[in-house]
Assembly symmetry: C2
Homo-oligomer: 234 residues x 2
């Protein structure tokens, strides 16, 4: 395993310890450096980061709240499994959040929002051109998160964030199978979505987000299973 979590220098400011552990664990979980089912040893982590178990436990509790780890009582907490049997619930929720957040963005976006969204899209495009699958996954996530932010509904932002994270884990499993033409299609679809948001065309934004979601879901399902999403006629 890549040991990019070497003991960082001592003397940390009060309150930064938790965030440090949280960020490290979160990244390792989402990048599958810590694959689902991996046990997380508190003492070991504490030693590696040269801190006590208290801040580590707090980070673990927070991660458990987001569903990224599962705490087994009196036994080591493990990285949460990906529930492949119920992936349709994930696809269903993801599609709905794609649509709702894009709609809201078309409704409320400011010029500043648009600028941020375009920046994220530029980063995504760069990752596609560089054929960097991992960067593509991460920048794609940030692009849609930025759209959600423009929609300004904290409930959707939070759920969508969780779903995008889970998607990052799932995509990470199949990142090697990313071929060229699909990502390029995504770039174009992103541009269309931006245009609809810019034009404040809510229905068009909805329709594009819906198609984009279908695209992604189909993409993932090509690699795994059958589409069992709820079909909502809009």
């Amino acid at each position: 395993m890549i040991d990019r979590t070497i003991v960082p220098s001592t003397d940390r400011k009060r309150g930064e310890g938790v965030k440090l552990v949280y960020d490290i664990l979160r990244d390792d979980i989402l990048d599958l450096v810590l694959p689902p089912g991996s046990p997380i040893d508190e003492v070991q982590l504490a030693e590696r980061l040269s801190m006590s178990r208290t801040p580590i436990r707090e980070a673990l509790v927070r991660l458990a709240g987001e569903g990224l780890v599962t705490a087994l009582p009196n036994r080591s907490t493990i990285v949460s499994n990906i529930d492949f049997l119920n992936l349709h619930t994930f696809f269903d929720a993801l599609t709905l959040m794609y649509r709702v957040t894009t709609r809201l963005a078309a409704e409320c976006r400011t010029e500043v929002d648009l600028e941020i969204i375009r920046t994220r899209q530029a980063e995504f495009t760069r990752a596609v051109e560089a054929h960097d699958a991992l960067a593509m996954i991460a920048t794609n996530r940030n692009f849609h998160a930025a759209i959600a932010e423009a929609g300004r509904n904290p409930y959707y932002i939070s759920l969508f964030g969780r779903l995008l994270d889970e998607g990052r884990r799932i995509l990470r499993i199949y990142y090697s199978s990313f071929d060229d033409h699909l990502p390029r299609r995504y770039v174009i679809e992103h541009e269309d979505i931006i245009a609809a948001i810019d034009a404040r065309d809510v229905e068009k934004a909805d329709q594009l987000a819906s198609a984009h979601a279908d695209q992604i879901v189909r993409h993932i399902q090509e690699m795994i299973g059958r589409d069992r999403r709820q079909r909502i006629a809009l």
Copy 2:
């Protein structure tokens, strides 16, 4: 303040302490026994429940993850405020979750699910007949949570639960203004929703849930402000 959190007997089983604190705080927050902005003193709580600060901190971290409390760095954590300025985001998400969960319930419900839903509805009816506003708020929440459970989408269940909790706090503020005819209307609307779920009529369930949500939102807005929800044409 009502001191219903008197020191419960000592010798607790290992691991039950956190759940105890969590449940007490959660209930007190949702019932507004602890109003928004109330500081939560860890030491004081620890003494009252005769336990150390560690399990209390864990409970607070979990509550913070759900947005029920806000942790101010190096200062006492406080009960989260209700964002009245952005209530429309709450109404928007609540309406969407009403619809989506009811749709899914109509699609996937088993006989056991229906039985549980009917039990919750009976409890709600009883609360209405007893003119017990607090019980009405709680049982109404449980009724809709049961429908979400029948839909079996963990993402919706979790977001909806959060929204219903927040709704419980908001309703609690105005519980004195609950008159007789509105709750009775709710009872009937609930019965209709159950019938649609029973008949597996997805579109009907959606339509009824939508109307029910509108009803509740209007009800709350009569007491506060103007409806600014996103209007999604279905």
